[in-house]
């Protein structure tokens, strides 16, 4: 196992050392990343200064939802977020270099960068989570502890798969990052809010097409023993890992098709 991972350890290690070589720029980026997280949370805070409930959630529940969604997204963004820069890789010939190395292309793409500077936003989410958990009145059970852990890892996994989907699409849409951002960053934005505030078609879109609701909203319902809105029964909150598997399945099929398109094997 250790030997199997040796190339990736070396690749990630070299990325980390390279980032640390520019300490000041790293510090600025990390601070900027914390600021992004704070502004996003401020948005929630401002809303709850005006209303007591949003989509059936009070401020404490909304903060919990925010923390879960942000933690999932920011960790995925840190590890896989550069995948949607695929056109840059194509133009620079980096993808050809990947094809000339004895490793799968996707794992090389993922380990070709790790945006450690984005750790700030994940840290911000952890702080909000640590504050929100005791604020909420949760009837803790071993199952709920398990749910919290799996929800976070499923969230990371779902967003990571969405980034890979976005990368795959860009084999065809060379300047398509604005289009795919609508799904990755759009999904991230949608995941921070209770899905119940959306009209039904949008709710379905951000649940079953882009499974953003599985990252924060649905697990929050289960943790707080709340019923779901029409179309989203709260038991779906247990299905995060399943959705992660499905999303990764789609992502890998899309990626494979993209590589085949790139090497000219498709069509």
């Amino acid at each position: 196992m250790a030997e199997a991972l040796r190339p990736y350890r070396a690749l990630l290690g070299s990325r980390l050392r390279a980032q640390m070589a520019y300490r000041r720029s790293f510090a600025m980026d990390a601070i900027g990343s914390i600021a992004v997280g704070m502004f996003e949370f401020a948005e929630i805070y401002v809303i709850f200064a005006k209303v007591e409930f949003l989509g059936g959630l009070d401020f404490a529940a909304a903060a919990l939802l925010f923390a879960l969604a942000n933690l999932g997204f920011s960790l995925a963004d840190m590890v896989v977020g550069h995948a949607d820069q695929l056109p840059t890789y194509l133009r620079a010939g980096t993808l050809d270099a990947f094809l000339l190395r004895p490793l799968p292309v996707l794992t090389q793409l993922i380990t070709s960068d790790i945006a450690l500077r984005r750790v700030g936003r994940a840290g911000m989410a952890v702080v909000v989570l640590a504050i929100a958990l005791p604020l909420n009145d949760i009837a803790w059970s071993p199952a709920k502890v398990g749910l919290l852990v799996t929800a976070i890892s499923a969230g990371v996994s779902i967003f990571a798969a969405l980034f890979v989907c976005a990368a795959a699409v860009q084999f065809w849409l060379i300047e398509g990052s604005e289009f795919t951002n609508a799904f990755t960053y759009g999904g991230s934005y949608a995941s921070q809010y209770p899905a119940s505030i959306f009209v039904l078609p949008v709710r379905v879109l951000f649940t079953f097409v882009i499974p953003a609701a599985f990252v924060g909203y649905l697990p929050t319902l289960v943790l707080l023993d709340l019923p779901g809105p029409p179309g989203l029964p709260s038991w779906l909150g247990w299905c995060g890992p399943l959705m992660a598997v499905v999303t990764w399945g789609v992502a890998l099929i899309g990626w494979r098709a993209g590589i085949r398109h790139y090497t000219g094997a498709g069509s």
Binding site: S14, A97, L99, L100, R101, P104, T263, G264, A265
Partner: protein, 339 residues
């Protein structure tokens, strides 16, 4: 009888490090044509190319820009799937067995970097050793050999982005050779290099071939590369092979001229009527004169014999044809066939 042929064929196939048969690659080019409709055009980047390269050989793969050189290399290395025909590299299917093949070949694209721009070469080599899963510390000896032979020591700890082009190319070639590949493919390795860097690189490559028996496939615009590094030329134009053979054969085929430069002991009248030659230039005093002749029509010996009758030759040298000119002539000579 047919059995013997089959066996002979199998032998040549196992001995070939690259075996290309009727290899073709078509691209569909879309261009905006009217307001709504876009026209599609099919371009044959590589068209029914067949050649075989023996293990240990060195081939210069020559052609104008857009002749199909890079497309061929991409198919040989598994980056691009052929539209039709077959390619076998190191006995493997390049696309299906891409990862196995990657362990056995080294590739350098002169205009594209395979190094990490923000890492020093030393770190890049450590990473590449891990990527190729080179065992333990055995690769360190190979790295040190490459650092020594390519003279990288003075900048091996400098980030790649701060290196000059010549330094970077040398670094790239060391990177491609770190895992001791059987086949080295270089796409325009000397492009943009100064004379000294080119020379160093040629010496190094010749040495690696002698030392390790590395097979070499080289695309280049630089005809000195071809002369110095390869014993066989494959020339392509519009995706089709127009010549396969050695350099003298090519020169002979297009009737390119050699030039004999003669230094005389005393002023000599212009040599205007030496059989089979043309006077290119005579210095005013006639001490140095240049005669061009087409090999095949006459020989250097015959020219020298008739010149010696006119004056005492103190020194002479022969300038080989400029190969760019030879290839240009080859293109012109094949032009009518393609119409």
């Amino acid at each position: 009888m047919s059995m013997a042929i089959a066996v002979a064929h199998a032998d040549s196939a196992t001995d070939a490090i690259i075996d290309v048969r009727s290899l073709s690659r078509r691209f569909t080019v879309r261009s905006p044509g009217g307001r709504l409709r876009r026209t599609k055009k099919t371009v044959d980047a590589v068209d029914a190319l067949t050649f075989s390269m023996q293990r240990g050989a060195a081939i210069g793969y020559i052609g104008a820009n857009g002749a199909g050189k890079s497309t061929t290399i991409k198919m040989i290395t598994g980056i691009l799937v052929p539209s039709s025909g077959s390619v076998v590299t190191c006995g493997l299917d390049p696309v299906r067995q891409r990862k196995r093949l990657a362990r056995r070949i080294g590739v350098v694209f002169g205009q594209r970097t395979q190094l990490w721009w923000d890492l020093p070469l030393r770190e890049s080599y450590r990473t590449l050793a891990a990527i190729h899963r080179l065992p333990g510390d055995s690769w360190v000896a190979r790295r040190d050999e490459l650092i020594d032979r390519l003279d990288l020591a003075s900048f091996v700890d400098t980030p790649v982005r701060q290196l000059s082009l010549g330094q970077r190319i040398r670094g790239e070639i060391a990177a491609a050779l770190l895992h001791s590949p059987e086949l080295l493919i270089l796409d325009e390795p000397t492009i943009g290099l100064d004379v000294l860097s080119k020379e160093r690189l040629r010496v190094f490559l010749a040495e690696q071939r002698a030392l390790h028996g590395t097979s070499l496939l080289l695309t280049t615009h630089d005809m000195d590369d071809v002369q110095r590094l390869t014993e066989r030329l494959v020339v392509v134009d519009h995706g089709q092979m127009i010549y396969d053979g050695d350099l003298p054969g090519l020169v002979h085929r297009v009737g390119a001229e050699r030039v004999m430069v003669l230094d005389f002991a005393a002023p000599t009248p212009p040599l205007e009527d030496v059989p089979g030659t043309r006077l290119v230039h005579s210095e005013p005093d006639g001490m140095r004169q240049r005669l061009s002749f087409v090999p095949g029509h006459t020989t250097a010996g015959a020219v020298l014999a008739s010149v010696s009758a006119r004056g005492e030759v103190r020194d002479l040298s022969i300038e080989e044809p400029d190969i760019e000119d030879v290839v240009r002539r080859l293109y012109l000579s094949t032009e009518p066939y393609r119409q």
